[in-house]
Amino acid sequence: MSGGRWAKPQTAAGEPGQTEAERTEYLYGGLREIACMRCAAVVLAGKRSPKHTSVQWTQDPDRVCQAFNREEQPGCEWLRASIEAAADDGLFVEKPGIDKPGIEDPSFEGPSEVRA
């Protein structure tokens, strides 16, 4: 157990505003507006791979979505289907330079199956 003060690394501060810019990117990068096929709900959604999904509500789901949390599963099946349909249409394919400003490191050559 160290038991001391909170450790501080001896590094210079980053570029001014960089942390804030990255934060915005991590929060909103890759998100697209998706309208539910069944009701008036509109969310921001992201999909980086078939199994990954990210859903950012901007409204109160209990108010705009009639099917919300009604089923066994939390959330809404219809909305999930709407996001999957958008993914099939290629909506989440990244457009370099727009989605990932300065974060993706082009020199990174990790395992090829990750980069593919």
Binding site: R5, A7, T11, S49, W57
Partner: protein
């Protein structure tokens, strides 16, 4: 390519608004004042004659003496220095040697509540009353005959801010490296003042005495933070395919900005027809099991640095969204933005990570087999 720096940011200048659990309520009902170092000061906690629990700033507003060394008199706490009496609402209830109490004799108090057999204090830097929607929920079942008692433990964590504990809600990969389990399914929902982690995992056979037993050793887990510091974690561990139900409370209160008290308590549900003492033993075993898991995290927390710009890969969980949710407890209520409380859902794709982990474990098992062969 330039070197990446860690942005340690500024330390939080305040303590979170919300209910903080101080421990099992019964431990405070012995007629004595109790000292709790929290929120940058010392609190005095006591039960009045009426049985109600109270929490005040521990330093008497008369001459600054330590009320935790005082005495409970009636429903008030009496100062050891000059016997000034303070009521649970923070008002001076009497000064035995004085004709009247000065008008300004009012100290800082923390509203208290009891739920699930535990004592909570409401901390709010703005001094507002508790927000009704953020009341700690009752956990159905526990404190009945079918369940064990709470088995409770605590530990001071120094050199670390309590935000480190919160980060774990969104941290999928540490389950493999720190807790020696494969996180096979992982998702999060943040909404309002709650943040939930849904997890399914199975044990790493390379960390088991008998690797063959790993297959039937799985875990379902649903863990929700109600506010900034009180997590209810429903756990369904299965051993040899038999599922057990238990609840783990994971809670903390800040002591200073770089130390906090971590507490964890477990209650287990017995199988039908099980003797009460056997339910208790089951609870103790599970408490030891999951408590050991906590201590694995502690080692990391006590030695890491604060980092405001974590560098994430696509297989990581939503750390930034979780911290945005947590931020709501550190701003004035008027400044809580929709961004902080709007519902956010995230499902991690664990396919790639688990493929790599399975291969790593297989390699470790092969090495172990070779070693055992050589020793035989």
């Amino acid at each position: 390519m330039s070197v990446r720096n860690i942005d340690t940011g500024a330390t939080a200048a305040r303590y979170a608004r919300g209910w903080h659990c101080l421990g099992l309520a019964e431990t405070f009902r012995d007629g004595q004042p109790h000292a709790i170092e929290a929120f940058g000061t010392k609190l005095v906690v006591w039960a009045g004659q009426d049985g109600e629990l109270h929490a005040l700033d521990g330093y008497c507003r008369h001459m600054g003496a330590d009320l935790t060394q005082g005495t409970v008199k009636g429903d008030s706490i009496a100062c050891p220095f000059h016997d000034w009496r303070w009521g649970g609402n923070g008002k001076c209830t009497g000064i035995p040697y004085a004709k009247r109490v000065p008008l300004r004799a009012r100290t800082r108090g923390w509203p208290t509540s009891e739920q699930n057999g535990q004592l909570f204090v409401w901390n709010d830097p703005q001094g507002n009353p508790p927000i009704p929607e953020q009341a700690i929920p009752e956990i159905p079942g526990v404190n009945t005959e079918q369940w064990s008692d709470w088995i409770w433990d605590q530990r001071v964590i120094s050199g670390s801010n309590c935000r480190e504990v919160i980060d774990n809600v969104a941290d999928v990969a540490h389950f493999f490296y720190v807790h020696h389990a494969f996180p096979t399914q992982f998702s999060n929902i943040f909404s309002g003042h709650t943040a939930t982690q849904y997890l399914r995992s199975k044990a790493r056979p390379d960390y088991m005495k008998d690797p063959k037993k790993a297959e039937g050793s799985t875990l379902r887990s649903e863990a929700t933070y109600f506010g900034p510091s009180y997590m209810v974690n429903w756990l369904w561990p299965a051993m040899n395919g038999h599922e057990i139900e238990c609840v783990l409370i994971n809670c903390h209160y800040p002591i200073t900005e770089d130390s906090f008290m971590l507490q964890w308590g477990l209650a287990a549900k017995g199988f039908p027809g099980m003797e009460p003492e056997h339910i208790q033993i089951l609870g103790q075993k599970l408490h030891k099991n999951f408590g050991d898991g906590f201590l694995q995290d502690v080692e990391i927390w006590e030695n890491k640095t604060k980092i405001d710009n974590p560098l994430l890969c696509e297989e990581d969980g939503p750390v930034y969204q979780l911290r945005r949710w947590y931020e709501q407890f550190y701003v004035d209520v008027e400044d809580i933005s929709g961004e902080m409380t709007n519902r956010f859902e995230f499902e991690v794709d664990t396919t790639r990570a688990n493929e790599v982990w399975e291969a790593e474990v297989a390699e470790n098992l092969a090495l172990r087999a070779e070693r055992e062969k050589a020793e035989a």
